[in-house]
């Protein structure tokens, strides 16, 4: 009788019997060995502006070659990509795209970076690591958008290959993470600290959902934690929630709530706070010293950049980020 295995990639640490697939739907135990089902089999491949990931302080106005496979470690009830993240790999169409071909295509389309995104890159860890290694060799940068629900060992290894990461800090309570997402908060906070230690450029996204995680006190607490543990330079993107997937009964986030969140971040000492998916000034980057406009954005389109050598053109302050 073939043995049981325990996966140690993400904090869920599923114990799998023979032929059993993990909670992320992408890893399987066959005859006592754990395999990935999605290596080289992305279900989403596209070229996007890097601002969409969203990265505002990393190689602005460049293109990111974005890939994802099906599956996810969590099950957030508000997931915007649930059709592929909550699907099993055998349920969606995929292409055959080995790691070398990913890099080849990225370069062919003139992308300065490859972004592992859309669903959850943790679930295609092996694919991501092999691709990232080849990308490095060819000077293509590696970035990911993840929920940060990954164990420390694999994260540290991955971080050595990553140039930037956008992590979803979905809420600041264990209650939200377990009830709404099917996970825990603490591993995400730990992952943020690890990425910081490994000098990966960090940006944080927070989807503000009315009644679930819009408590201003909690948002202030969260921003305070970020400033204290990751520093005031980490940009935060507050996004507007739209009713979707399993949370169709909630209203879209009022603009006021997002403005309050922005203020809470600034009051906590965060230098760069943005509001995503609403056309306002809060999409622009302003120098944290002299408040002059550094980068003007309309949606994902960059209108002007007022930086030289990573410094503010007006006052010369070094602006946190990766500019070349």
């Amino acid at each position: 009788m073939a043995g049981t295995v325990q996966c140690e990639l993400c904090p869920t640490e599923c114990v799998l019997e023979n032929y059993q697939v993990g909670g992320c739907r992408t890893r399987i135990n066959k005859d006592g060995t754990l395999y990935s089902l999605v290596y080289g089999k992305p279900c989403a491949v596209a070229v996007d502006p890097i601002e969409k990931k969203p990265f505002y302080h990393f190689l602005p106005a460049t293109k990111a070659f974005s890939i994802a496979t099906a599956g996810c470690v969590l099950g957030c009830k508000f997931c915007q990509n649930w059709q592929i993240s909550q699907a099993s790999p055998e349920d969606v169409d995929h292409q055959n795209l080995p790691p070398a071909d990913v890099v080849r295509q990225a370069m062919f389309y003139g992308c300065r970076s490859i972004t592992y995104t859309y669903t959850e890159p943790t679930v295609f860890y092996e694919y991501m690591v092999d691709t990232a290694q080849i990308a490095r060799q060819f000077g293509v940068r590696n970035t990911m958008h993840s929920c940060g629900y990954i164990n420390e060992k694999p994260l540290r290894k991955l971080a050595k290959l990553l140039d930037a990461a956008d992590i979803d800090l979905k809420a600041f309570t264990e209650d939200f993470y377990s009830r709404i997402c099917g996970g825990r908060l603490k591993p995400v906070l730990d992952a943020l600290v690890v990425l910081r230690q490994e000098n990966v450029w960090l940006e944080i996204t927070n989807l503000v959902i009315p009644t679930l995680n819009d408590d201003p006190k909690k948002i202030r607490e969260m921003c305070g934690w970020i400033v204290k543990n990751l520093g005031p330079d980490v940009p935060i993107h507050f996004s507007r929630f739209f009713p979707y997937y399993k949370l169709k009964d909630l209203p879209p986030t009022p603009f006021e709530t997002l403005k309050d969140a922005l203020k809470a971040a600034q009051d906590a000492g965060m230098r760069y706070a943005y509001i995503g998916n609403i056309r306002t000034e809060a999409e622009n980057t302003y120098c944290h010293r002299c408040r002059k406009l550094l980068i003007e954005r309309i949606g994902y389109h960059v209108q002007q950049i007022n930086l030289t050598g990573g410094k503010c053109r007006s006052c010369g302050t070094a602006i946190p980020g990766v500019w070349s």
């Binding site: 869920t12 640490e13 209650d175 377990s178 009830r179 709404i180």
Partner: protein, 409 residues
């Protein structure tokens, strides 16, 4: 027979005591949780059917797995200790054990989540995403938890507090079922007494058998079973009047009239006899062969008794075909056995009764010897001449007042 009595008594008493001793760890753990949930209350020993603790304030506490062992989550049963008030509302609960993926369900075990169950009544729906929150990635587990708490609470509320809820299993014939049973006992008993005097009343037995099959079997679905005796021995009497009438009358009749139940009331015995009357050739079996195999039912009983008493699980000892048939409840093996036991009667009338029935075994062991039952060619049990009375079901065909007394061999 005396030797058998001794063996069975020994096995029963030893395994009963051992079982109580072995299960006391579980009781200790459960008591520790009771102290957590209701620090000011004093709880009695676990007893009754379904098994539960009673508090000095009238609340009932129970392990959901004891009451509804068949409820399962993703990887196994989720055992919950529940404290239920006499108003049918949950006063407190705690998960004792489970086998689900720890990191998906750890929130399910927290007071924050379980607190939503407190105050719920047995009349509530206990439906995820309706009156209870779901937990992402733990749907199967949470649904099993809700089902487990709801069904076991409803069973306890029905049996202990008399609160009837719609989903409480099959609705029995109602509060008059005990009366139906009592009337049948009266009719059969009268027939028995009369036929002991005069063979002309023997048609009453046929009527009693058919009535037993229809009323006790089909309508009430409550034949006498060795499981009743197991529950009694484990200190878990039921709270329904029918149970008391059933068990009481059978034991009483056993004292004065031996296996009267078997010959006049048992619904499966009736079915077996009726099928046996189909005019097809019956197998002719040598006496030695028949004698040897009749011991089988005692062997099965001696085997099953310690399993039940050691584990404390009466459902482990359920192999009686009339339960499968009339309660319509059993797996593929049970139904195969039942079908076989019905058809076998065509060749050997009362096949199950002769060779396999545990009730036959128990009543046989406890019955007095009555040498006046000499047996005849038309004995429904196919007994040899001057059989041991343990095999006699008191049909009263062979007994007449002027039968000569025969000394026992």
């Amino acid at each position: 027979m005396k030797k058998l009595r001794t063996i069975l008594a020994f096995v029963a008493i030893v395994s009963l005591a051992a079982g109580l001793f072995l299960r006391q760890d579980v009781r200790v753990d459960e008591r520790a949780v009771l102290v957590e949930l209701a620090p000011d209350a004093a709880f009695s020993e676990k007893a009754g059917s379904p098994p539960h603790y009673r508090s000095d304030r009238g609340a009932a506490a129970f392990n959901s797995h004891d009451v509804r062992p068949e409820t399962r989550g993703y990887a196994g049963p989720i055992k919950v200790l529940v404290v239920l008030g006499s108003d049918g509302r949950i006063k407190g609960l705690k998960i004792l054990s489970h086998r689900e993926t720890k990191n998906y369900v750890y929130y399910m075990e927290t007071p924050a989540y379980l607190g939503r169950f407190v105050g719920k009544s047995v009349y509530d729906r206990f439906e995820i995403d309706k009156d209870l929150d779901g937990i992402s990635k733990a749907t199967v587990s949470v649904e099993a938890l809700a089902r487990s708490v709801r069904d076991s609470s409803r069973a306890v509320a029905a049996n202990v507090y008399g609160l009837q809820t719609a989903s409480e299993g099959h609705v029995s014939a109602g509060s008059w079922s005990w009366l139906w049973y009592a009337l049948l006992v009266l009719f059969g008993g009268t027939g028995y007494v009369l036929t002991r005097q005069d063979r002309r009343y023997l048609t009453m037995r046929d009527i009693s058998l058919v009535a037993g099959m229809l009323i006790i079997g089909v309508y009430l679905a409550s034949p006498f079973s060795v499981l009743h005796l197991f529950n009694l021995a484990l200190g878990r009497p039921s709270s329904s009047l029918l149970w008391y009438v059933l068990v009481g009358s059978t034991l009483a009749s056993l004292l004065v009239a031996g296996r009267f139940y078997c010959g006049w009331l048992c619904p499966f015995g009736a079915l077996a006899e009726l099928v046996g009357r189909v005019p097809l050739r019956k197998w002719s079996l040598p006496v030695r062969h028949d004698d040897r195999w009749r011991k089988l039912k005692y062997i099965l009983l001696v085997l099953v008794t310690p399993v039940v008493f050691l584990s404390g699980r009466v459902d482990y000892g359920n192999y009686e075909v009339y339960i499968t048939l009339f309660a319509v409840h059993g797996n593929a093996f049970a139904w195969t056995l039942t079908g076989l036991m019905v058809i076998a009667n065509v060749r050997v009338p009362r096949f199950w009764c002769r060779y396999l029935c545990p009730v036959a075994a128990v009543t046989g062991i406890l019955t007095r010897q009555e040498p006046a039952y000499v047996s005849r060619h038309d004995c429904p049990m196919g007994n040899k001449p001057n059989p041991d009375t343990s095999e006699c079901i008191r049909c009263n065909r062979c007994l007449h007042r002027d039968a000569p007394a025969i000394s026992r061999s």
